[in-house]
Protein backbone atom coordinates (compact mmCIF):
# COMPACT_ATOMS: atom_id res chain seq x y z
CA UNK A 1 0.00 0.00 0.00
CA UNK A 2 1.67 3.27 -1.13
CA UNK A 3 0.74 5.27 1.95
CA UNK A 4 2.12 8.79 2.12
CA UNK A 5 1.81 11.28 4.98
CA UNK A 6 1.72 15.04 4.41
CA UNK A 7 1.60 17.70 7.10
CA UNK A 8 0.31 21.23 6.51
CA UNK A 9 1.18 24.00 6.84
CA UNK A 10 4.95 23.88 6.33
CA UNK A 11 7.16 24.68 8.13
CA UNK A 12 5.36 23.00 10.99
CA UNK A 13 4.68 25.15 14.02
CA UNK A 14 3.12 24.58 17.42
CA UNK A 15 -0.64 24.43 17.17
CA UNK A 16 -3.17 22.53 15.13
CA UNK A 17 -1.84 21.02 11.91
CA UNK A 18 -3.50 19.01 9.19
CA UNK A 19 -2.21 15.47 8.68
CA UNK A 20 -3.21 14.16 5.26
CA UNK A 21 -2.79 10.46 4.54
CA UNK A 22 -2.94 9.47 0.89
CA UNK A 23 -2.55 6.23 -1.00
CA UNK A 24 -4.81 4.08 1.16
CA UNK A 25 -5.51 1.89 -1.83
CA UNK A 26 -5.30 -1.71 -2.96
CA UNK A 27 -2.82 -3.11 -5.44
CA UNK A 28 -4.86 -1.75 -8.36
CA UNK A 29 -4.93 1.75 -6.96
CA UNK A 30 -8.56 1.51 -5.90
CA UNK A 31 -9.48 3.06 -2.53
CA UNK A 32 -9.94 0.59 0.29
CA UNK A 33 -13.27 0.55 2.08
CA UNK A 34 -13.88 0.20 5.79
CA UNK A 35 -10.52 1.59 6.87
CA UNK A 36 -10.09 3.29 10.24
CA UNK A 37 -7.08 5.51 10.82
CA UNK A 38 -6.01 7.00 14.10
CA UNK A 39 -3.16 9.51 14.10
CA UNK A 40 -0.88 9.80 17.13
CA UNK A 41 1.73 12.45 17.78
CA UNK A 42 4.53 11.79 20.27
CA UNK A 43 7.36 14.02 21.32
CA UNK A 44 10.78 12.47 20.83
CA UNK A 45 11.41 12.98 24.55
CA UNK A 46 9.80 10.36 26.79
CA UNK A 47 7.30 11.42 29.41
CA UNK A 48 5.45 13.96 27.29
CA UNK A 49 1.73 13.84 26.57
CA UNK A 50 0.93 12.18 23.24
CA UNK A 51 -1.83 13.67 21.10
CA UNK A 52 -4.42 11.61 19.23
CA UNK A 53 -6.90 12.26 16.49
CA UNK A 54 -9.12 10.17 14.23
CA UNK A 55 -8.70 10.68 10.50
CA UNK A 56 -11.93 10.39 8.55
CA UNK A 57 -11.86 9.74 4.79
CA UNK A 58 -12.02 13.12 3.03
CA UNK A 59 -11.58 11.86 -0.54
CA UNK A 60 -11.32 8.36 -2.02
CA UNK A 61 -8.17 6.83 -0.51
CA UNK A 62 -7.35 10.04 1.36
CA UNK A 63 -7.77 10.57 5.11
CA UNK A 64 -7.32 13.81 7.02
CA UNK A 65 -6.77 14.44 10.71
CA UNK A 66 -6.17 17.56 12.73
CA UNK A 67 -3.41 17.13 15.26
CA UNK A 68 -2.39 19.57 17.97
CA UNK A 69 1.40 19.84 18.35
CA UNK A 70 1.35 21.16 21.87
CA UNK A 71 5.01 22.12 22.24
CA UNK A 72 8.05 22.86 20.10
CA UNK A 73 10.67 20.22 19.37
CA UNK A 74 11.00 16.92 17.54
CA UNK A 75 7.78 14.99 17.07
CA UNK A 76 6.97 11.59 15.66
CA UNK A 77 3.66 11.01 13.91
CA UNK A 78 2.28 7.47 14.03
CA UNK A 79 -0.57 6.11 11.93
CA UNK A 80 -2.57 3.27 13.40
CA UNK A 81 -4.46 1.84 10.43
CA UNK A 82 -7.09 -0.84 10.86
CA UNK A 83 -8.33 -2.46 7.67
CA UNK A 84 -11.79 -3.87 7.07
CA UNK A 85 -10.56 -7.42 7.69
CA UNK A 86 -9.25 -6.39 11.12
CA UNK A 87 -5.60 -6.44 10.17
CA UNK A 88 -3.43 -3.56 11.39
CA UNK A 89 -0.77 -1.47 9.71
CA UNK A 90 1.49 1.03 11.44
CA UNK A 91 3.34 3.89 9.75
CA UNK A 92 5.62 6.47 11.29
CA UNK A 93 7.26 9.72 10.18
CA UNK A 94 9.54 12.09 12.01
CA UNK A 95 8.54 15.73 12.20
CA UNK A 96 11.73 17.45 13.18
CA UNK A 97 12.05 20.85 14.74
CA UNK A 98 8.45 21.92 15.21
CA UNK A 99 8.90 25.64 15.82
CA UNK A 100 7.34 27.68 18.58
CA UNK A 101 4.17 29.66 17.91
Amino acid sequence: MPIRIHIFPQPVRVGVVKVVVTGVTDGLGEPLAGVHIQVEGDMAHPGMAPVFSDAPETAPGTYTARLNFSMPGDWVVLLHIRLADGSKIERQIDVRGVAGP
Binding site: E40, P46, G47, P50, G73, D74, Q92, R96, G100
Partner: protein
Protein backbone atom coordinates in the same frame (compact mmCIF):
# COMPACT_ATOMS: atom_id res chain seq x y z
CA UNK B 1 11.54 30.43 92.42
CA UNK B 2 14.56 32.67 91.86
CA UNK B 3 15.54 33.92 88.42
CA UNK B 4 18.58 31.66 88.57
CA UNK B 5 16.42 28.63 89.24
CA UNK B 6 14.05 29.63 86.44
CA UNK B 7 16.93 29.97 84.02
CA UNK B 8 18.30 26.63 85.10
CA UNK B 9 14.91 25.00 84.61
CA UNK B 10 14.55 26.55 81.14
CA UNK B 11 18.01 25.31 80.24
CA UNK B 12 17.06 21.79 81.24
CA UNK B 13 13.91 22.02 79.14
CA UNK B 14 16.00 23.06 76.12
CA UNK B 15 18.32 20.11 76.26
CA UNK B 16 18.79 19.11 72.66
CA UNK B 17 16.52 16.27 71.65
CA UNK B 18 18.26 13.27 70.15
CA UNK B 19 18.10 13.27 66.38
CA UNK B 20 15.64 11.12 64.50
CA UNK B 21 17.25 7.77 63.71
CA UNK B 22 15.85 5.83 60.75
CA UNK B 23 17.33 2.63 62.12
CA UNK B 24 15.17 3.00 65.24
CA UNK B 25 11.97 3.01 63.18
CA UNK B 26 10.18 -0.30 63.61
CA UNK B 27 10.41 -2.67 60.64
CA UNK B 28 12.44 -0.26 58.48
CA UNK B 29 15.24 -0.15 61.02
CA UNK B 30 15.22 -3.90 61.55
CA UNK B 31 15.30 -4.46 57.80
CA UNK B 32 18.17 -2.05 57.15
CA UNK B 33 20.21 -3.54 60.00
CA UNK B 34 19.85 -6.96 58.41
CA UNK B 35 23.14 -7.88 56.73
CA UNK B 36 21.53 -8.70 53.39
CA UNK B 37 19.25 -5.66 53.17
CA UNK B 38 21.38 -3.97 50.53
CA UNK B 39 21.46 -7.08 48.39
CA UNK B 40 17.71 -7.48 48.63
CA UNK B 41 17.18 -3.84 47.65
CA UNK B 42 19.57 -4.16 44.73
CA UNK B 43 17.98 -7.29 43.25
CA UNK B 44 14.85 -5.54 41.90
CA UNK B 45 17.03 -2.68 40.71
CA UNK B 46 19.16 -5.18 38.80
CA UNK B 47 16.07 -6.86 37.36
CA UNK B 48 14.76 -3.49 36.18
CA UNK B 49 18.18 -2.65 34.71
CA UNK B 50 18.21 -5.90 32.73
CA UNK B 51 14.65 -5.24 31.50
CA UNK B 52 15.71 -1.76 30.44
CA UNK B 53 18.73 -3.08 28.57
CA UNK B 54 16.70 -5.75 26.78
CA UNK B 55 13.89 -3.39 25.83
CA UNK B 56 16.34 -0.70 24.84
CA UNK B 57 18.11 -3.05 22.45
CA UNK B 58 15.15 -5.10 21.23
CA UNK B 59 11.99 -3.10 21.97
CA UNK B 60 10.25 -0.13 20.33
CA UNK B 61 12.58 2.41 18.75
CA UNK B 62 10.39 5.31 19.81
CA UNK B 63 11.67 6.72 23.12
CA UNK B 64 8.26 7.44 24.72
CA UNK B 65 7.28 3.80 24.18
CA UNK B 66 10.40 2.13 25.52
CA UNK B 67 11.21 1.18 29.13
CA UNK B 68 14.88 2.09 28.75
CA UNK B 69 14.26 5.72 27.90
CA UNK B 70 11.11 6.26 29.98
CA UNK B 71 12.59 4.75 33.14
CA UNK B 72 16.03 6.28 32.75
CA UNK B 73 15.19 9.81 31.67
CA UNK B 74 11.82 10.29 33.38
CA UNK B 75 11.49 8.10 36.45
CA UNK B 76 14.97 7.14 37.60
CA UNK B 77 16.30 10.69 37.54
CA UNK B 78 13.19 12.04 39.27
CA UNK B 79 13.14 9.43 42.03
CA UNK B 80 16.89 9.87 42.51
CA UNK B 81 16.75 13.61 43.24
CA UNK B 82 13.54 13.40 45.28
CA UNK B 83 15.05 10.65 47.45
CA UNK B 84 18.12 12.82 47.94
CA UNK B 85 15.90 15.73 48.96
CA UNK B 86 13.65 13.78 51.31
CA UNK B 87 16.08 11.23 52.77
CA UNK B 88 19.59 10.68 51.43
CA UNK B 89 21.72 8.73 49.01
CA UNK B 90 19.25 5.87 48.57
CA UNK B 91 20.26 5.04 45.00
CA UNK B 92 23.78 4.09 46.03
CA UNK B 93 22.26 2.03 48.85
CA UNK B 94 20.34 -0.06 46.30
CA UNK B 95 22.95 0.24 43.53
CA UNK B 96 22.54 -2.62 41.01
CA UNK B 97 26.11 -2.17 39.78
CA UNK B 98 27.43 -3.10 43.23
CA UNK B 99 25.39 -6.29 43.23
CA UNK B 100 27.09 -7.45 40.04
CA UNK B 101 30.46 -6.26 41.30
CA UNK B 102 30.07 -8.14 44.59
CA UNK B 103 29.13 -11.29 42.69
CA UNK B 104 32.22 -10.91 40.51
CA UNK B 105 34.45 -10.46 43.54
CA UNK B 106 33.46 -13.89 44.80
CA UNK B 107 35.55 -15.21 41.91
CA UNK B 108 37.93 -12.39 41.05
CA UNK B 109 40.00 -10.85 43.81
CA UNK B 110 41.37 -7.43 42.85
CA UNK B 111 45.12 -7.15 43.33
CA UNK B 112 45.91 -3.50 42.85
CA UNK B 113 45.48 -0.31 44.78
CA UNK B 114 44.14 2.69 42.88
CA UNK B 115 47.14 4.88 41.91
CA UNK B 116 47.79 7.59 44.46
CA UNK B 117 47.84 10.31 41.80
CA UNK B 118 44.27 9.43 40.83
CA UNK B 119 42.86 9.43 44.36
CA UNK B 120 40.73 12.49 43.77
CA UNK B 121 37.58 13.51 41.94
CA UNK B 122 39.09 14.77 38.68
CA UNK B 123 38.29 11.59 36.71
CA UNK B 124 34.63 11.47 37.79
CA UNK B 125 34.34 15.23 37.28
CA UNK B 126 35.51 14.74 33.68
CA UNK B 127 33.20 11.73 33.24
CA UNK B 128 30.27 13.68 34.66
CA UNK B 129 30.89 16.52 32.20
CA UNK B 130 31.38 13.98 29.38
CA UNK B 131 28.08 12.28 30.23
CA UNK B 132 26.26 15.62 30.11
CA UNK B 133 27.97 16.42 26.80
CA UNK B 134 27.07 13.04 25.26
CA UNK B 135 23.49 13.41 26.51
CA UNK B 136 23.14 16.55 24.39
CA UNK B 137 25.33 15.53 21.45
CA UNK B 138 23.72 12.14 20.87
CA UNK B 139 20.27 13.10 22.19
CA UNK B 140 20.40 10.10 24.50
CA UNK B 141 16.89 10.89 25.72
CA UNK B 142 15.51 10.06 22.28
CA UNK B 143 17.33 6.77 21.72
CA UNK B 144 16.41 3.58 23.59
CA UNK B 145 19.28 1.81 21.87
CA UNK B 146 21.94 4.30 23.01
CA UNK B 147 20.40 4.48 26.49
CA UNK B 148 20.66 0.69 26.79
CA UNK B 149 24.32 0.84 25.76
CA UNK B 150 25.01 3.53 28.36
CA UNK B 151 23.67 1.14 31.03
CA UNK B 152 25.68 -1.77 29.61
CA UNK B 153 28.77 0.43 29.50
CA UNK B 154 28.24 1.37 33.12
CA UNK B 155 28.12 -2.27 34.21
CA UNK B 156 31.26 -2.98 32.16
CA UNK B 157 33.09 -0.02 33.67
CA UNK B 158 32.24 -1.18 37.21
CA UNK B 159 33.46 -4.70 36.54
CA UNK B 160 36.71 -3.58 34.93
CA UNK B 161 37.62 -0.98 37.58
CA UNK B 162 36.61 -3.01 40.63
CA UNK B 163 37.94 -6.20 39.05
CA UNK B 164 41.44 -4.76 39.05
CA UNK B 165 41.38 -2.38 41.99
CA UNK B 166 40.66 -3.05 45.66
CA UNK B 167 38.03 -1.49 47.91
CA UNK B 168 35.27 0.70 46.45
CA UNK B 169 37.50 2.32 43.87
CA UNK B 170 34.72 2.74 41.33
CA UNK B 171 32.37 4.43 43.79
CA UNK B 172 34.95 6.78 45.23
CA UNK B 173 37.12 7.66 42.25
CA UNK B 174 35.20 6.91 39.05
CA UNK B 175 31.40 6.77 39.24
CA UNK B 176 29.83 10.00 37.92
CA UNK B 177 26.37 9.09 39.22
CA UNK B 178 27.88 8.48 42.65
CA UNK B 179 29.58 11.89 42.63
CA UNK B 180 26.31 13.51 41.64
CA UNK B 181 24.69 11.76 44.60
CA UNK B 182 27.50 12.68 46.99
CA UNK B 183 27.37 16.38 46.25
CA UNK B 184 23.55 16.46 46.20
CA UNK B 185 23.43 14.49 49.46
CA UNK B 186 25.23 17.33 51.23
CA UNK B 187 21.75 18.89 51.23
CA UNK B 188 19.97 15.72 52.39
CA UNK B 189 18.28 15.52 55.78
CA UNK B 190 19.73 12.12 56.74
CA UNK B 191 23.29 11.02 57.36
CA UNK B 192 24.96 7.78 58.40
CA UNK B 193 26.59 8.87 61.64
CA UNK B 194 27.75 7.83 65.08
CA UNK B 195 25.04 7.88 67.76
CA UNK B 196 27.29 8.48 70.74
CA UNK B 197 30.90 9.58 70.26
CA UNK B 198 31.83 8.54 73.80
CA UNK B 199 31.18 4.93 72.82
CA UNK B 200 33.65 5.31 69.94
CA UNK B 201 36.25 6.78 72.31
CA UNK B 202 36.33 3.52 74.22
CA UNK B 203 36.14 1.25 71.16
CA UNK B 204 39.24 -0.86 70.69
CA UNK B 205 38.42 -2.67 67.45
CA UNK B 206 37.43 0.09 65.00
CA UNK B 207 35.45 -2.47 63.04
CA UNK B 208 33.48 0.27 61.29
CA UNK B 209 36.51 0.92 59.11
CA UNK B 210 38.54 -2.26 59.43
CA UNK B 211 35.74 -4.78 59.19
CA UNK B 212 35.87 -8.21 60.77
CA UNK B 213 37.95 -11.13 59.54
CA UNK B 214 38.78 -14.59 60.75
CA UNK B 215 41.44 -17.12 59.75
CA UNK B 216 40.28 -19.16 56.80
CA UNK B 217 43.03 -21.63 56.09
CA UNK B 218 45.94 -23.40 57.61
CA UNK B 219 48.00 -20.24 57.86
CA UNK B 220 47.09 -17.18 59.89
CA UNK B 221 47.74 -14.97 56.88
CA UNK B 222 44.68 -16.32 55.09
CA UNK B 223 41.75 -14.34 56.36
CA UNK B 224 38.16 -14.44 55.28
CA UNK B 225 36.06 -11.28 55.55
CA UNK B 226 33.12 -11.76 57.89
CA UNK B 227 31.95 -8.18 57.58
CA UNK B 228 33.38 -5.38 55.49
CA UNK B 229 34.31 -2.08 57.06
CA UNK B 230 33.89 1.14 55.11
CA UNK B 231 35.31 0.58 51.65
CA UNK B 232 35.38 4.30 51.00
CA UNK B 233 37.76 4.98 53.89
CA UNK B 234 35.29 6.90 56.05
CA UNK B 235 36.09 6.35 59.71
CA UNK B 236 32.78 6.86 61.48
CA UNK B 237 33.94 8.80 64.55
CA UNK B 238 35.68 11.31 62.28
CA UNK B 239 33.18 11.20 59.42
CA UNK B 240 31.44 14.49 58.66
CA UNK B 241 28.51 14.71 56.30
CA UNK B 242 27.48 12.69 53.28
CA UNK B 243 30.39 13.21 50.90
CA UNK B 244 31.65 9.82 49.71
CA UNK B 245 29.03 7.93 51.72
CA UNK B 246 27.12 5.37 49.65
CA UNK B 247 24.75 4.47 52.49
CA UNK B 248 26.00 0.90 52.06
CA UNK B 249 25.57 0.43 55.83
CA UNK B 250 28.70 -1.72 56.13
CA UNK B 251 29.67 0.42 59.12
CA UNK B 252 26.26 -0.16 60.71
CA UNK B 253 26.65 -3.91 60.33
CA UNK B 254 30.27 -3.89 61.46
CA UNK B 255 29.94 -1.78 64.61
CA UNK B 256 30.01 -4.17 67.58
CA UNK B 257 28.38 -1.54 69.81
CA UNK B 258 25.33 -0.82 67.64
CA UNK B 259 26.50 2.77 67.64
CA UNK B 260 25.97 3.83 64.02
CA UNK B 261 22.59 5.12 62.88
CA UNK B 262 20.97 6.99 60.03
CA UNK B 263 20.45 10.27 61.79
CA UNK B 264 18.59 13.44 60.94
CA UNK B 265 20.53 16.67 60.63
CA UNK B 266 20.26 20.17 59.20
CA UNK B 267 20.25 19.79 55.40
CA UNK B 268 23.35 21.42 53.90
CA UNK B 269 24.61 22.18 57.42
CA UNK B 270 27.78 20.29 56.60
CA UNK B 271 28.65 22.98 54.04
CA UNK B 272 28.45 25.78 56.61
CA UNK B 273 31.59 24.64 58.40
CA UNK B 274 34.91 23.27 57.25
CA UNK B 275 36.11 20.60 59.65
CA UNK B 276 38.60 17.91 58.76
CA UNK B 277 36.58 15.04 57.32
CA UNK B 278 37.59 11.42 57.47
CA UNK B 279 38.60 10.11 54.05
CA UNK B 280 38.32 13.57 52.54
CA UNK B 281 40.25 16.18 54.51
CA UNK B 282 39.19 19.82 54.45
CA UNK B 283 36.70 20.82 51.78
CA UNK B 284 38.46 24.16 51.44
CA UNK B 285 41.63 22.35 50.32
CA UNK B 286 39.90 20.02 47.87
CA UNK B 287 39.98 21.77 44.49
CA UNK B 288 38.68 18.57 42.90
CA UNK B 289 35.51 18.51 45.02
CA UNK B 290 35.04 22.22 44.35
CA UNK B 291 35.38 21.33 40.65
CA UNK B 292 32.73 18.67 41.13
CA UNK B 293 30.47 21.30 42.74
CA UNK B 294 31.01 23.59 39.75
CA UNK B 295 30.12 20.90 37.21
CA UNK B 296 27.15 19.92 39.39
CA UNK B 297 25.79 23.48 39.50
CA UNK B 298 26.69 24.90 36.11
CA UNK B 299 26.05 21.52 34.46
CA UNK B 300 22.49 21.76 35.81
CA UNK B 301 22.09 25.04 33.97
CA UNK B 302 23.66 23.66 30.79
CA UNK B 303 21.53 20.54 30.93
CA UNK B 304 18.36 22.63 31.22
CA UNK B 305 19.59 25.10 28.58
CA UNK B 306 19.87 22.17 26.16
CA UNK B 307 16.12 21.60 26.30
CA UNK B 308 14.73 25.07 25.66
CA UNK B 309 14.27 27.06 22.47
CA UNK B 310 17.02 29.73 22.88
CA UNK B 311 19.76 27.10 22.64
CA UNK B 312 19.03 26.66 18.93
CA UNK B 313 19.26 30.38 18.28
CA UNK B 314 22.62 30.49 20.07
CA UNK B 315 23.90 27.43 18.23
CA UNK B 316 22.81 28.71 14.85
CA UNK B 317 24.47 32.06 15.59
CA UNK B 318 27.70 30.37 16.69
CA UNK B 319 27.61 28.15 13.60
CA UNK B 320 27.35 31.16 11.31
CA UNK B 321 29.99 33.10 13.25
CA UNK B 322 32.53 30.29 13.19
CA UNK B 323 31.50 28.83 9.83
CA UNK B 324 30.95 25.47 11.47
CA UNK B 325 28.15 23.08 10.55
CA UNK B 326 28.94 20.11 12.82
CA UNK B 327 27.21 19.82 16.19
CA UNK B 328 30.12 18.61 18.30
CA UNK B 329 32.39 21.67 18.16
CA UNK B 330 29.53 24.11 18.74
CA UNK B 331 28.24 22.09 21.68
CA UNK B 332 31.81 21.70 22.97
CA UNK B 333 32.24 25.45 22.89
CA UNK B 334 28.99 25.93 24.82
CA UNK B 335 30.15 23.45 27.45
CA UNK B 336 33.49 25.25 27.79
CA UNK B 337 31.64 28.53 28.30
CA UNK B 338 29.13 27.08 30.76
CA UNK B 339 31.45 24.82 32.78
CA UNK B 340 34.73 26.76 32.68
CA UNK B 341 34.46 30.38 31.58
CA UNK B 342 31.24 31.31 33.38
CA UNK B 343 32.26 29.75 36.74
CA UNK B 344 35.73 31.27 36.48
CA UNK B 345 34.27 34.73 35.95
CA UNK B 346 31.49 34.49 38.52
CA UNK B 347 33.22 32.59 41.30
CA UNK B 348 36.65 34.03 40.67
CA UNK B 349 35.20 37.53 40.57
CA UNK B 350 33.28 36.99 43.80
CA UNK B 351 36.40 35.67 45.53
CA UNK B 352 38.39 38.68 44.34
CA UNK B 353 35.69 41.05 45.65
CA UNK B 354 35.48 39.21 48.98
CA UNK B 355 39.21 39.55 49.51
CA UNK B 356 39.42 43.14 48.35
CA UNK B 357 36.30 44.48 50.04
CA UNK B 358 36.07 42.47 53.24
CA UNK B 359 39.77 41.78 53.69
CA UNK B 360 39.23 38.04 53.91
CA UNK B 361 42.56 36.33 54.37
CA UNK B 362 43.84 33.62 52.08
CA UNK B 363 44.95 33.25 48.50
CA UNK B 364 42.46 34.04 45.74
CA UNK B 365 42.11 30.39 44.72
CA UNK B 366 41.63 29.26 48.33
CA UNK B 367 38.82 31.74 48.87
CA UNK B 368 37.24 30.67 45.57
CA UNK B 369 37.37 27.00 46.56
CA UNK B 370 36.04 27.67 50.07
CA UNK B 371 32.97 29.58 48.91
CA UNK B 372 32.28 27.44 45.83
CA UNK B 373 30.52 24.90 48.05
CA UNK B 374 27.91 27.51 48.90
CA UNK B 375 26.35 27.15 45.44
CA UNK B 376 25.74 23.39 45.83
CA UNK B 377 22.12 23.81 47.09
CA UNK B 378 21.34 26.10 44.14
CA UNK B 379 22.61 23.44 41.76
CA UNK B 380 20.60 20.82 43.56
CA UNK B 381 17.52 23.05 43.32
CA UNK B 382 18.04 23.27 39.58
CA UNK B 383 18.39 19.51 39.18
CA UNK B 384 15.28 19.06 41.31
CA UNK B 385 13.31 21.53 39.23
CA UNK B 386 14.45 19.97 35.95
CA UNK B 387 14.22 16.29 36.80
CA UNK B 388 11.14 16.88 38.95
CA UNK B 389 9.44 18.48 35.95
CA UNK B 390 9.98 15.40 33.77
CA UNK B 391 9.12 13.04 36.62
CA UNK B 392 5.88 14.67 37.66
CA UNK B 393 4.61 15.57 34.18
CA UNK B 394 5.41 12.05 32.95
CA UNK B 395 4.62 10.22 36.18
CA UNK B 396 2.09 7.73 34.82
CA UNK B 397 3.78 7.06 31.47
CA UNK B 398 5.45 4.05 33.02
CA UNK B 399 2.03 2.34 33.07
CA UNK B 400 1.34 2.15 29.31
CA UNK B 401 5.02 1.49 28.56
CA UNK B 402 5.00 -1.49 30.93
CA UNK B 403 1.65 -2.66 29.54
CA UNK B 404 3.12 -2.45 26.05
CA UNK B 405 6.33 -4.26 27.02
CA UNK B 406 4.35 -7.16 28.51
CA UNK B 407 1.99 -7.25 25.51
CA UNK B 408 5.00 -7.44 23.17
CA UNK B 409 6.22 -10.44 25.14
CA UNK B 410 2.86 -12.09 24.44
CA UNK B 411 1.82 -11.68 28.07
CA UNK B 412 -0.73 -8.83 28.13
CA UNK B 413 -1.72 -9.33 31.77
CA UNK B 414 -2.00 -5.58 32.38
CA UNK B 415 -4.30 -5.01 29.40
CA UNK B 416 -3.94 -2.75 26.39
CA UNK B 417 -1.55 0.19 26.79
CA UNK B 418 -3.33 3.32 27.95
CA UNK B 419 -1.17 5.84 26.14
CA UNK B 420 -3.29 8.75 27.35
CA UNK B 421 -1.95 8.27 30.89
CA UNK B 422 0.66 10.97 31.29
CA UNK B 423 1.24 12.78 34.58
CA UNK B 424 0.48 15.75 36.79
CA UNK B 425 -0.69 19.00 35.18
CA UNK B 426 1.76 21.86 34.78
CA UNK B 427 -0.35 24.00 37.12
CA UNK B 428 0.82 21.73 39.92
CA UNK B 429 4.32 21.01 38.67
CA UNK B 430 5.43 24.57 37.93
CA UNK B 431 4.94 25.87 41.51
CA UNK B 432 6.92 22.85 42.70
CA UNK B 433 9.73 23.76 40.31
CA UNK B 434 9.93 27.30 41.65
CA UNK B 435 9.74 25.96 45.19
CA UNK B 436 12.80 23.79 44.53
CA UNK B 437 14.69 26.74 43.09
CA UNK B 438 13.78 28.97 46.04
CA UNK B 439 14.82 26.26 48.47
CA UNK B 440 18.19 26.05 46.71
CA UNK B 441 18.63 29.82 46.80
CA UNK B 442 17.82 29.96 50.51
CA UNK B 443 20.31 27.17 51.26
CA UNK B 444 23.06 28.77 49.22
CA UNK B 445 22.59 32.20 50.76
CA UNK B 446 22.63 30.71 54.25
CA UNK B 447 25.87 28.83 53.61
CA UNK B 448 27.54 31.87 52.08
CA UNK B 449 26.46 33.96 55.07
CA UNK B 450 27.82 31.45 57.60
CA UNK B 451 31.14 31.22 55.77
CA UNK B 452 31.32 35.00 55.56
CA UNK B 453 30.61 35.32 59.29
CA UNK B 454 33.41 32.89 60.04
CA UNK B 455 35.84 34.68 57.76
CA UNK B 456 35.18 38.25 58.77
CA UNK B 457 33.18 39.07 61.87
CA UNK B 458 33.58 42.79 61.28
CA UNK B 459 32.81 42.79 57.58
CA UNK B 460 30.57 39.77 57.21
CA UNK B 461 28.16 41.65 54.98
CA UNK B 462 30.98 42.69 52.67
CA UNK B 463 32.29 39.14 52.49
CA UNK B 464 28.81 37.80 51.89
CA UNK B 465 27.55 40.27 49.29
CA UNK B 466 29.61 39.10 46.27
CA UNK B 467 28.47 35.51 46.84
CA UNK B 468 24.89 36.61 47.34
CA UNK B 469 25.14 38.34 43.97
CA UNK B 470 26.45 35.12 42.40
CA UNK B 471 23.58 33.16 43.98
CA UNK B 472 20.99 35.64 42.74
CA UNK B 473 22.48 35.58 39.23
CA UNK B 474 22.36 31.78 39.14
CA UNK B 475 18.85 31.74 40.59
CA UNK B 476 17.65 34.28 38.02
CA UNK B 477 19.20 32.23 35.22
CA UNK B 478 17.48 29.12 36.57
CA UNK B 479 14.09 30.83 36.77
CA UNK B 480 14.52 32.21 33.26
CA UNK B 481 15.37 28.72 31.97
CA UNK B 482 12.34 27.23 33.67
CA UNK B 483 10.10 29.84 32.07
CA UNK B 484 11.31 29.06 28.55
CA UNK B 485 9.15 26.82 26.36
CA UNK B 486 10.51 23.31 26.31
CA UNK B 487 11.95 22.42 22.91
CA UNK B 488 13.60 19.02 22.68
CA UNK B 489 15.31 18.47 19.36
CA UNK B 490 17.76 15.87 18.20
CA UNK B 491 18.60 18.25 15.36
CA UNK B 492 20.69 20.69 17.35
CA UNK B 493 21.86 22.82 14.45
CA UNK B 494 18.40 23.58 13.17
CA UNK B 495 18.03 27.35 13.03
Amino acid sequence: MTKLQEASQEEEEFVEAPPFDLLRVPLIGRFLEWKHARTLLAIPMLAVSVAMILQGLLGPTLAPKNLATVLTWVHFRGVLVLALLCAGNLFCLACPFMLVRNAMRRFVKPRFNWPRALRNKWIPVALFALLLFCYELFSLWSSPWLTAWVIVGYFAMVLVVDGFFKHATFCKYVCPIGQFNFIAATASPLEVAVRDHEVCDTCGTKDCIRGRREPAGRTDSELVILQRGCELALFQPAKVGNMDCTFCLDCVHACPHDNVGILSRLPAGELMTDPQRSGIGFFSRRKDIAGLTIVFCFGALMNAFGMVSPVYTVEAWLGRLLHVQERAPILGLLFVVFLLVEPALLLGGAAWATRAWAGVQGAWLSVTVRYTYSIAPLGFGMWLAHYGYHFFTGLYTIVPVTQNALAELGWPVLGDPRWTLVGLPKTIVEPLEFGFLLLGLAGSLLIAWRLAEDDSEQHAVRAFTPWAVVCVILFTASVWLMMQPMDMRATMMAG
